[in-house]
Amino acid sequence: MAKIITKNLNLWYGEFQALKSVNASFREKAITAIIGPSGCGKSTLLRVFNRMNDFIEGFRITGEVVIEGKNIIDPTADLIDLRKKVGMVFQRPNPFPLSVYENIIFGLKIHSLVEGKNNYDEIVEQSLSSVLLWDDLKDKLNKSALSLSLEQKQRLCIARLIAVKPEVLLMDEPCSSLDPQATVRIEELMRELKNKYTIIIVTHNMQQAARVSDETGFMLLGELIEFLKTDIIFTAPRDKRTEDYITGRYG
């Protein structure tokens, strides 16, 4: 089942065209990786899905992005609802300068999802458990989130999303500021999360895409060159440019 479908998606920043006629469909409850060299538009594409490009000056977009039957790039789309449903994990972990607890319930508060302290407690425990942080942090819920290690911060950022029960998790190079061991553990977490969530990950690390993803899209200069099952794209790419990239001829 496709969760997100893009149809003839074009995007400009001023004169510069960052996405050129992107057509793709992203499978539900699977991990899709988007790879490609720097500046190919992979982060831009990811940020289309929860409209995080809207802030950039000179931003313009045409085409369609359909999530559950709704075209989310329509100007009348409800951004708040969209972003609740489609959460994003950033390159550098960005917990708020609040306590661990407050970080998790942030989304609940702004969407007025839950009333009452007891219910908060329950969701905090569930969210932290689902990113395997509960045992580490259950006694430190009131500590500042800024005092955690980088890996813990990134997990906390994922937990913060999970608390509002999203359907899609967008991950923009979520491991690029982590060490190799932490990266392995976050990748394990991603595999576990895909049972419940649709995950799209942007990475410049091809090995990571190969390790975690079910499907992979290769982008170059704003175009989606190829979009295939991961094991196929890494073993038998159809396009010469994909082959050149994954064999390390450029990038």
């Binding site: 929860n50 995080m52 802030f55 951004l79 708040i80 609802d81 969209l82 972003r83 609740k84 959460g87 994003m88 950033f90 550098r92 960005n94 917990p95 708020f96 300068p97 609040l98 942030f106 989304g107 508060k109 702004i110 969407h111 950022c157 913060r160 999303l161 509002v164």
Partner: protein, 287 residues
């Protein structure tokens, strides 16, 4: 040759650096020497908590409680007015305003800071004082409230510019994280950006208050200068600073009165020092 030049320049800069500290120390020593001389005549407690200030009656009564309360009342009033407006203005400039309006506002704030205190006092005297008198049906418009309002204008530029810096220093990633969770602009400002900038904003408030408490000319012109313990903000008050400015000219050098004015200077120095140090602590807490 080049080495000698370097050496001379280095030493010159060193002297400049030390000079500022040296002069502060000199001023402080002089202030203390003259101020503390008072306490041979009057006990510090009687001085600080005495309820009457009649420096030229016989015997002189040198209690500065009315003056301290006058200063605090005017400062408190000014803070109540200038802090919400100043912080609000900083939020508008840093978070909301389009670029053109932002530039315009910043220039406006700088202009406000450039108005000399005596001009603020003068404007207050001819516009605000009659207004306060008429609105509240008072015998005189020279009140603590008038002083607070005018001083709020003087605290505003300090508060706005430092609070604005604090808001700009909040990492963009917090903003993105909040928006990406579906927060509105205001929710992001209120729940993420303000808490993140809180120590800088507190410092801005402290420095704004420091500016008000040391202000002399404007308050002297519009607060009425009655050295009585204020019962309400609609009464004339006299501040510590105005007392020194008004009376130093007529105090006989070496008299009790003269020493008392210096002791007031010490009190002011201590208050400003505490405010500045705490502002500094707030500023450095998050670094």
């Amino acid at each position: 040759m080049r080495k000698i030049k370097e050496f001379i320049i280095e030493k010159l800069i060193l002297v400049c650096g030390l000079a500022s500290v040296f002069f502060v120390v000199l001023i402080f020593i002089f202030l203390l020497k003259e101020g503390l001389a008072l306490f041979k005549i009057v006990s510090p407690l009687d001085f600080l908590f005495g309820k009457s200030w009649y420096p030229i009656s016989e015997p002189a009564q040198l209690g500065i409680l009315p003056l301290i309360l006058g200063s605090l009342l005017v400062t408190f009033g000014a803070a109540v007015i200038s802090v919400p407006i100043g912080v609000g203005c900083a939020i508008y400039i840093a978070e909301v305003a389009p670029n053109k309006i932002k530039e315009l506002l910043k220039v406006g704030i700088e202009l406000l800071a450039a108005i000399p205190s005596v001009v603020i006092g003068f404007i207050g005297m001819v516009t605000l004082v009659p207004l306060v008198k008429n609105v509240f049906h008072l015998p005189t418009g020279l009140t603590a409230l008038s002083g607070s309002i005018m001083l709020a204008f003087m605290a505003m530029p300090t508060i706005v510019s430092i609070a604005e810096d604090a808001l700009y220093a909040v990492p963009k990633s917090y903003r993105e994280g909040s928006f990406a969770l579906g927060a509105t602009h205001w929710q992001t400002i209120w729940r993420v950006i303000l808490p993140a900038a809180s120590s800088g904003i507190l410092a801005a408030v402290m420095l704004g208050i420091g500016r008000v408490i040391g202000e002399t000319m404007a308050v002297m012109m519009i607060t009425g200068n009655a050295a009585v313990i204020p019962q309400s903000i609609l009464q004339p008050v006299r501040t510590l600073t105005a007392t020194i400015a008004a009376e130093m000219g007529e105090a006989v050098v070496g008299s009790e009165h003269y020493f008392a004015l210096f002791a007031i200077g010490v009190v002011l120095f201590v208050i400003s020092f505490i405010i500045n140090v705490s502002a500094d602590l707030f500023l450095h807490r998050n670094k």
